[in-house]
C-alpha cells in the first residue's frame, strides 16, 4: 500500500497550516497510510503529529507532502535524502525583513526557508500553492507547472461549534460591544499595533465606546510587550489580549464581533477574514500580498499604506452604515462559496492521484 505522509517544520493548535494538514490527513487516511510529522510539536498536538525522526522508511512509490512556510536544515536534509516522491505545498514564507531587527534567529529561519525552495526545486514531483500570489513567487524562482489549490481550507468549520460560556464571561468582563476583532499570531508584520492606535482614535477623537479583541498566540515577546505598553500608554480601554483560543472560544468571539479588521503587511493566504465572513462579520483588511486575492469582493480592502486614521474611519463606517454592512456580509458569503468551489483538499488529492501516485 502506498504511504502518503505530510511533513512540516512546526505544528501547533490554532495554527492554520497544522489545521490544513489535519484536514488533508483526514482525506488521505481513508485511502491508506498517512501521518503528519514535524520538527517542532506543541505538546497538545502529540496525539495528531509525530516527531520527524519517527518518519518510517519509505519507498520511491510513496509520497511526502511537504508544507513549506519556514525553513529548518534538518527538514531540508530529510527531504533531499528520502526516496519518496515529493509534493510541495507552498503556504508562503514571510519576508525576513520584518524580523531582522528584533528576532534575527527567526529571520534566519525564514531566509533558510526561501533557500530551501531552490534546493527542492528539482526534487519535487508536484508543486501546489494555496494562492496565485504564492504560485507566482514559486514561478519567479524557477518552479514550473505550479497549481493553485487552497487545500485544507475550511472557513466554515467553526460555525456549528457550541459557544463557550467562559469566553462569553471573559468578553463581558473586558470588552464593551461593539468590538473590533483580529485573529492572528502577535507578530510585527501583522501590525496589531495599528488596530490599537485606530481604537485609540475611535475612543478619543470619535468618542465611540468601542472595544478590541486580539486573538492569537504571542510569537514575539518584544512585539507582544510593546502592544501591551502601547495600550497602557494610549490609555485604550476595553482591549482584550485573548491569546490562543480553543475552537469553542474562537467561535464565540467571532459570533459577537462587530467587525473583523486586519492591518497585516503580509499574508500568503489569510484565513481569519474568511472565517469572519462565515460568521457574517464584515471584514476590513489591508491590501497586502495575497489578501485581496483571498477576500475578493467579500471585504473592504484598504490601500497598502493605510494607517490608523483610515482604519478608524473604515471601522466606524462599517459599524454605522447598515447598507454597507449587509452588502459586505452578503458578498462575504458568496466569496466563501467561490473559494470552496475550487476543490480544496479533494482537488489536491486528485492531483496527487493523477500525477504522482503509481497507477
Amino acid at each position: 500500500m502506498t504511504a502518503v505522509h505530510q511533513i512540516m517544520v512546526g505544528a501547533g493548535p490554532g495554527d492554520a497550516i497544522t489545521q490544513m494538514a489535519l484536514d488533508i490527513q483526514a482525506e488521505l487516511g481513508r485511502r491508506g497510510s498517512s501521518d503528519i510529522f514535524a520538527r517542532f510539536i506543541d505538546p497538545s498536538m502529540a496525539a495528531e503529529v509525530r516527531a520527524l525522526d519517527h518518519l518510517p522508511a519509505g519507498r520511491p512509490s510513496d509520497v511526502i507532502v511537504y508544507h513549506s512556510s519556514f525553513g529548518h536544515p534538518e527538514i531540508t536534509r530529510t527531504l533531499l535524502r528520502r526516496p519518496e516522491q515529493l509534493v510541495l505545498v507552498y503556504h508562503n514564507i514571510t519576508p525576513s525583513a520584518f524580523f531582522v531587527e528584533h528576532d534575527p534567529a527567526f529571520a534566519a529561519g525564514l531566509e533558510w526557508g526561501r533557500h530551501e525552495l531552490t534546493l527542492l526545486r528539482d526534487r519535487v514531483s508536484l508543486t501546489v500553492a494555496d494562492s496565485d500570489f504564492n504560485a507566482n513567487e514559486l514561478t519567479a524562482i524557477g518552479f514550473h507547472d505550479v497549481h493553485t489549490i487552497p487545500a485544507g481550507l475550511l472557513p466554515r468549520r467553526l460555525t456549528a461549534t457550541v459557544p463557550s460560556s467562559s469566553t462569553l464571561r471573559d468578553l463581558d468582563d473586558t470588552v464593551t460591544r461593539p468590538f473590533v476583532l483580529n485573529v492572528s499570531q502577535l507578530l510585527p508584520h501583522k501590525r496589531q499595533h495599528v488596530l490599537i492606535q485606530a481604537t485609540h482614535v475611535l475612543q478619543t477623537i470619535h468618542a465611540i465606546d468601542i472595544g478590541l479583541v486580539l486573538v492569537g498566540t504571542s510569537r514575539s515577546p518584544v512585539y507582544t510587550l510593546a502592544l501591551h505598553e502601547l495600550t497602557r500608554r494610549l490609555r485604550v480601554r476595553h482591549v482584550w489580549f485573548a491569546g490562543r483560543q480553543p475552537d469553542a472560544g474562537l467561535a464565540t468571539i467571532y459570533r459577537r464581533a462587530s467587525v473583523f479588521a486586519s492591518a497585516s503587511m503580509h499574508e500568503g493566504l489569510g484565513i481569519p477574514p474568511l472565517e469572519a465572513m462565515a460568521f457574517n462579520v464584515p471584514a476590513v483588511v489591508r491590501d497586502a500580498a495575497a489578501v485581496s486575492e483571498t477576500v475578493g469582493s467579500g471585504a473592504l480592502v484598504l490601500p497598502n499604506d493605510a494607517g490608523p486614521l483610515l482604519f478608524a474611519e473604515a471601522i466606524r463606517r462599517v459599524i454605522d452604515d447598515e447598507a454597507l454592512r449587509s452588502k459586505l456580509i452578503t458578498r462575504g458569503a458568496s466569496r466563501l462559496d467561490e473559494l470552496l468551489a475550487t476543490g480544496g483538499t479533494d482537488g489536491l488529492i486528485s492531483l496527487i492521484e493523477q500525477q504522482v501516485l503509481p497507477r
Binding site: 531587527e101 528584533h102 510585527p188 499595533h193 492606535q197 485609540h200 482614535v201 477623537i205 518584544v222 512585539y223 510587550l225 510593546a226 505598553e229 502601547l230 500608554r233 469582493s297 473592504l300 480592502v301 484598504l302 490601500p303 494607517g307 490608523p308 486614521l309 483610515l310 474611519e313 473604515a314 463606517r317 454597507l324 452588502k327 459586505l328 458578498r331
Partner: protein, 171 residues
Amino acid sequence: MSEIEVEEIVAGLKRQVAERRLAGDYPIGLEQQLESEFQGMMRAIDRHEIDTTRLHHLADHVRTTAHDVRVAGGTDSRVPGGAAAHSAMGRVVQRHVQPVAESVRELGTSVADALAETRRLFEAQSTADERQLLDAIAGVLDRLAVLDHLVEITQDLEARVARLESEPTST
C-alpha cells in the same frame, strides 16, 4: 463588492480623514507620531529598558522556594529498626533546625517582598516620568497656542495697517 465600489468607499474615507485634518480633529502628523512612538517602545523593550517581567518572575521564584523549605527528612531504611532510629534522630535534628528553616522562610519572603517593592518603584518611577513628560509637553503646547494666537493678532494688525496705508490720505 465591485472594484469601483470599493474604490469609491475608500476615496470617501480618505476625504473624511482629510476633512477631519482640516477641522483640527486629527492633528497634523498624528499617524507619524503614533508610529514613531511605537517604534521607540519596541526599541526600548528590545534593550530591556521597559520590561520588569523578569523581576516579577524572580520575586515569585524566591517566594515559592522559601515557602517550600522543609526540615523533615526521609525515614526510610533498609537496616532493621533503621526507620525508627531515623525518625527519632529526625525529631531531635528537627527541633534544632526548625528555627533555622523558619528564618530561611522569613528571609525568602523578605527578599521576595523587596524585589516586588523594587519592581513597584521602577514602575511608579516610569509612570511619574511619563506624567512629567506629558505635563512638559502640555506646557509646550500651551505656549505654542499662545504663539499661534500672537501670530493671528500680528497678521490682523498687519492687515489693518496695510488697509490704512492703502487708503487715500485726506489733506
